[in-house]
Symmetry: C2
Subunit: 205 residues, 2 copies
Amino acid sequence: MLKKVLIIEDDTALRNSIVQSLELEDLEPISTSSFTQARRSIRSNFRGVILSDIKMPVHDGFDVLRFAQARDPDLPIILLTGYSDVATATKALKDGAYDYLEKPYDHERLMDILSRALEHRELVLQNRAYRDELDAQKSKTATGTLAEQMEMHERKVIEQALAVENGKVVEAAKRLGIPRNTLYDHMTRLRIVAKAFRDKAPTAK
Amino acid sequence: MLKKVLIIEDDTALRNSIVQSLELEDLEPISTSSFTQARRSIRSNFRGVILSDIKMPVHDGFDVLRFAQARDPDLPIILLTGYSDVATATKALKDGAYDYLEKPYDHERLMDILSRALEHRELVLQNRAYRDELDAQKSKTATGTLAEQMEMHERKVIEQALAVENGKVVEAAKRLGIPRNTLYDHMTRLRIVAKAFRDKAPTAK
DNA sequence: ATAAAAAGTCCGATATTTCGGACAATTAAT
DNA sequence: ATTAATTGTCCGAAATATCGGACTTTTTAT
């Protein structure tokens, strides 16, 4: 489970309070006091979520939002709004914020939102990982001469058979449906040694 | 994007109001008035989320929650609680509810929660699909005789070469590093016909 | 309509692979 | 320590695959 929460809050007292809150819940707060300071942490594969105040000097929460969205559209941003500032909160959501939290914040509510956001982030990252893995598998366009490709596959098949049979050549040959001599022929050609597939430590002496 | 929302609400007026709300937002409400009625829709791969009232005769929202969790732990359930019934809401979340919504419901707030829940559901389902695909690929333990496995692979390689070259045998042969005659030998043996790999409609006449 | 190119087929000499038998070297079991 | 089984290597005849040439048929381009 992801646990990082990048906090962007200029009010030192509030910021420390939040940090303490998160630490109590076994999360990993990263405490910053401004967009500028937080900026370098906001990367595409950040393994966590962002919790930012909206009203801040120089750069406000919307700047954070815009920047983070550019870096990674699926990075959940939770914005801290003033009490019952519904208009701003709504705008934030429309702009792509994951959720908002009214100040003064309620601990339980913050945790609910954060856990949802962290889970969301985890799903997104896992999804990307799966997608990448699948793409990698599919894009391996078979290349090279027929003989090369066949030899590669032959090696794989034979090695697997040997592995399954713990390096016993006669058994592997049976499994492959060829006489052991023939298997030896192949192994010689491919420079496969059966010994390499036997248990090094079957029983401790 | 997923759009189904299974509504479980015994108050007819409120239920219809919600249905209307969702239809306005281009979602697909499934309207039911009781757990019993909704039950059959709650399946493991339900492509949507559940929005259920808590306080209902016979079976309440927690029954829905328990049942749905058993069917699919990653199926988001949003519970409708009475106004500022914080205790119940908190319990619901602890029990695995995705979120809760206070009655009387605010349209914007409902939509925010639903869109998050639907997105969450979509990610979960996508994740499962990816995982299944990867598992399927990995678990294909090579079995059968050496000759069989080699022939299968040979077929794959040749067919891919033909596909890439649009069914042109001479080109495919070049790509595979063998004389075209030899490729014909292989194709004859494997009963592969080049025609099958040519564009049926290269240019519209 | 004609020419050029590619698709398919068949043949046969040459090259490679298969596979059983035989045997020495190891390893495991009694 | 002796036996039995397994490993690993070599041999050679039979089976199979390769590959170029020749030829007919079909497509494609002009």
